[in-house]
């Protein structure tokens, strides 16, 4: 990767400069992007917020800019993976310490990012993923079919990585610089959340789930239609299998090796004891309705 500039782009006050970059990939979300950015600024005043406008046809970029975010606009739609990757490349170029990510539809409470950040900062993991299903009380309505798919992916990822995964499609993520570096280079493109878990695992980095609550989206429609979700499930399952065979060079050192924490990442997981032995069919956290 050619580094075109060593000059960091952001202009935050010195001192807490370039510590946190919150990446919000957005595609045609002009109805709620402004609120999402404003809420995130209140919840994380120390973070720079980068909205990656993925070739939106509406006023997403303008609304985000008006709300006070940095806005990077793709000339055309690259898909969610490409958008997140742009954010990670941005973070890499500017030398941010931690890369955070939430969805643009307002499902995520940005306050929960603090807990994810604490997990990564303390060296318990390189990546913290907000999981809807770890906390036990799932108060959002998820269509049964999608729930089935999510459970399937969780099983697949658990099996392939040997750690317990419950919410592999979560778009709420905090990662340290090592993980951001890996994904900036090897980001999967179409439906990146599931595959990136495998890639991070392949790079020898530790992922840990943190229970979060998610609400309904504020406005707009999900990018995954109901009909296409079957195709989506098939495609992702196969892609994940293929991904696990990809050659990913190991990252320099994982947080666990650096921080000398006992490597049992998933042993002391919060709720729902037992059956978290990773190998074998890990118990799905999603009761199939």
């Amino acid at each position: 990767m050619p580094r075109m500039s060593t000059e960091p782009p952001a202009s935050g006050p010195a001192g807490r400069r370039h510590a946190l970059l919150l990446i919000i990939p957005a595609f045609n979300e002009h109805l709620c992007i402004g609120d999402v950015v404003r809420r995130a600024r209140r919840a994380l005043p120390e973070a720079d917020i980068l909205v990656v406008d993925d070739g939106s046809l509406d006023a997403t970029a303008r609304e985000a800019r008006r709300a006070g975010a940095f806005v990077v606009s793709h000339p055309f739609n690259l898909g969610i993976g490409g958008a997140v990757q742009t954010g990670l490349k941005f973070a890499r170029r500017a030398g941010y310490e931690y890369a955070l990510r939430i969805d643009a539809d307002g499902q995520h409470d940005p306050h929960a990012l603090q807990r994810l950040l604490a997990t990564v900062r303390s060296g318990q993991a390189d990546v913290a993923v907000g999981s809807r299903f770890l906390g036990g009380d799932v108060d959002m309505k998820i269509p049964p079919l999608r729930r089935l798919g999510i459970g399937l992916f969780a099983r697949e990822v658990s099996w392939l990585t040997g750690t317990r995964a419950t919410d592999t499609t979560s778009g709420m993520v905090v990662m340290n610089r090592r993980a951001a570096e890996v994904l900036a280079t090897y980001m999967p493109q179409d439906y990146p959340e599931v595959e990136s878990r495998i890639i991070l695992h392949g790079a020898g980095l530790a992922t840990r789930e943190v229970p979060v609550r998610m609400g309904e989206r504020l406005a707009g429609v999900s990018s995954i239609g109901s009909w296409r979700s079957i195709y989506y499930a098939l495609k992702v399952s196969i892609a994940v299998l293929l991904t696990s065979w990809k050659q990913i060079p190991r990252a320099a050192a994982s947080a666990l090796e650096v921080a000398d924490v006992q490597p049992a990442v998933d042993r002391d997981c919060d709720h729902q004891s037992g059956a978290a032995d990773g190998h074998g069919p890990a118990r799905s956290q999603t009761p199939v309705a």
Binding site: M4, S5, P9, A10, S11, G12, P13, R41, D48, I49, V52, R62, R65, R66, G68, A69, F70, V71, V72, S73, H74, P75, F76, L78, G82, Q85, T86, K89, F90, R93, Q189
Partner: protein
Amino acid sequence: MLLTVTVQLVRRRRLREEYALPWLGANAVILVLSVFPLAVRALGVAFDVGDAPPLVLVLGMLFALAILLSHSVIVTTLADHRRDLAQSVSILEWQVRQLETKVTSVMDGREVSAPGTHANGTGDP
């Protein structure tokens, strides 16, 4: 016929030489086989099959499959490059806008110490 079309495409720079080579080769083979039917029979003897024409068909299909696969590889490379370019362009565009804002504020005599951390979106039209 096919041969002249290929050559014409290359001449008009609609087809790159490197991609034209396999087609030229295939065209030459087709030409030879159609001009000298004996060659087909020779091929049949060489591969030790009784009926030679279907053999030509099978070989042709294998050739087409190989070309399709190689094109998929090429498309993947191009798509990756396209994505990298789009990402670079968007980030650089942002940087240009930042610099423009800075330059403007310096020209106006104001100091660059922006009022807030995030007040950087003023450079857009």
